[in-house]
Subunit: 231 residues, 4 copies
């Protein structure tokens, strides 16, 4: 499988540091079930509801990135992402769920799965404890993993999968462009803080570890979707 990872040295380093946990996330059975259509409707529904709550906290995390941005580029991209999350991604979920008879207020106040709580609070604390880079690192497995998953599911999609709309969202030119934009910003943000060769910077191992942890938490989110929450 070709994994472009958006042409970035830093992202490539991060993904490699995640080792087998990266494919365990982006090629998870949940993902394969989306592509071939074998994912149970119940699992998708569980995922959708939790993903809405996830998006609430993901929006908070990107808002925290606005708070912590130190260049005009960082501020604009983070602010645009906040807007896209609230006004596009969350709306997509709301509409899908409305069809299934679930109101937005119900979504907002649904019980949060522990896998959700763990992942999102880990990201928020990355923002509180570190700088813009620490936060963006924790956000990256979601942004770029969904990009890869979009392309992968598009390639493998069976004609009759009921999840084509989901696949179209993340394989869309819009979403793929977002990935490239954020990847470019990350390179710039790293160079501004870590120097000309960020991959060799003294902070890189800590950033790799943060990316790795977030990657595992993404995989546990799929697992929760597939089999229900562990706790």
């Amino acid at each position: 499988m070709n994994k472009p990872f958006y042409n970035s040295p830093v992202l490539t380093t991060w993904r490699q540091a995640a080792g087998q946990d990266w494919p365990a996330y982006v090629e998870h059975d949940f993902v394969k079930g989306l592509a071939d259509g074998t994912l149970p409707a119940e699992a998708f529904q569980r995922y959708l509801i939790q993903d809405y709550i996830f998006l609430v906290h993901f929006t908070r995390a990107w808002a925290m990135a606005v708070v912590k941005s130190e260049s005009l580029e960082e501020m604009k991209i983070a602010a645009a992402t906040v807007d896209a999350l609230v006004n596009q991604e969350m709306q997509l979920h709301v509409q899908t769920c409305l069809k299934a008879g679930i109101s937005e207020e119900q979504l907002y106040s649904a019980a949060e799965a522990i896998e959700n709580l763990t992942y999102t609070r880990f990201v928020m604390d990355a923002g509180l404890s570190g700088d813009f880079l620490d936060l963006i690192t924790a956000l990256s497995p979601c942004v770029f993993g969904y990009g890869e998953i979009g392309l992968l599911t598009q390639r493998l999609a069976q004609a009759d999968t009921p999840y084509q709309e989901w696949i179209d969202t993340y394989s869309s030119e819009d979403y793929q462009n977002l990935c490239f934009t954020v990847a470019e910003m990350i390179e710039n943000s790293c160079k501004a803080r870590l120097g000309d060769d960020p991959v060799k910077s003294v902070r890189m191992p800590a950033l790799c570890k943060r990316f790795h942890t977030a990657t595992k938490l993404e995989a546990s989110f799929w697992e929760m979707g597939l089999k229900g929450s562990k706790w």
Copy 2:
């Protein structure tokens, strides 16, 4: 002078608590100079440059409000404001300044006046130290003061004032509607945290004090625009 203050018991209480410092802000000589056109071009230019830096931090503060929002209404309004600030208000400034030969990067990295630093960091710390309400209270003199000032300058505007575009921005239906939307949210946010009669809540004096301090910092911002920075 009629001061509707957007029909809200909480806002009315806050404004009254600011006493004479409220009119000292919204009827400042800088404001009168905008309306009658006597404001020196140099003062307006100084204001514009500092206001751009202010908008950067104001955007950060509204992003912090997204981080701290506890209802769907709060999150949506705060996120929409972040977007409006970055993509509308800041762009307006950038275009005005571009005409005067100042690039956006220059704006972003201009030396920050102490009046600016004081005000914006006070607001950010309100977000760090308190809850959503503490933060929104510190943001309110700017939001609603500019609403009042927009209406006031529109009413007093001389036909030949060179600042008509500025006046039109803040007296516009768009901006006035934003004020009403935020005012309604504040009532709801207060009721959700302070009970049915927020004005009588035990936290109200501390919120009034915070609003008052921010009001004085707004007046000092006009003063800086008019006469240059104190430090």
Copy 3:
């Protein structure tokens, strides 16, 4: 079983809101094993290592309480707790672990169990998203639960339990006094923000929910100690 819960209306309300999850935490099999000495040494060791990492983040959370304190009483108690955690509780762990051949640097960099990560980041985000009260509520199940557990294990302790030193720590007059001091502060902090009858305040249900979630995360911490990490 007598549960004094430190004579506080607010704490009593919180504990009741946690329902059966409260005794599931304070009377967990891990706790019973401490008292009757049947807890496997391996389980205690696993707990000790994770508890060290927990104390690091718990210290960060109490430091966040200093950041967010709004009265002299709050600041002094939170600062004293930061000091007690770093210079007493953590030192106790370090010495116990040193006897077992584990250095403090090893402790500090041990792999963090997911139960630990979940709990501590949930607490930190309570501090980032809310005010002092939201944070203290999330910290309370640990503070007061260990107080109850100290008294309970002291009452049930078998003469030959190898965990007497642990039991002595949390049943000590020092620790019990700390509980009463913090309980009194919580009543005062609630009254200062919620009015004379905090239990009936509009924010109480949200605080109860936060306390309840933290209580469940405490129980999952014991479970991790007893049986190893779930993930």
Copy 4:
């Protein structure tokens, strides 16, 4: 004048970057007045009251450093400083003020001078927006400036200055040792984030700017003490 600046390459770089603003702070007329005893009692009183409020926020800032610490050394030093500030420095002020008939509660709730507000909120936002290093940089002019001032005033002190107790505090072995401890930590913290030669790191100019701004805010604090608040 000999300025050891605690033997640190990073601190030396920061101080040099502050240029003439560094001696303008550490050799301010307020400082000279402490040494030769000509400082008016009224000015010292004004300083003492504001310095108490400053210490409250300085404690909050060091607590934020605990929140953001990423090594055991950082956590221990930051926590010890929180404790020293609350239980020693603030107590010193309280006792001095009690002699002058001012209670601690009065101190805590005294009106905050704008110079105080500006400086302390600037430091807090350094903690919110950046990482541990950004925060520590903003805290450094206070820590090390008072160290230099302690030595300077001790050297210049007239036998009859009424401010000998203040001079003794900051020239004491205890305080000087604190400076050396924090200086060593800063070198280590910089190396852990900026590499083996922090002074040449890409982040150094931004850190220098932050140090410089905080230095100017320290000087404005003396100015406020000497002549009253500007606003």
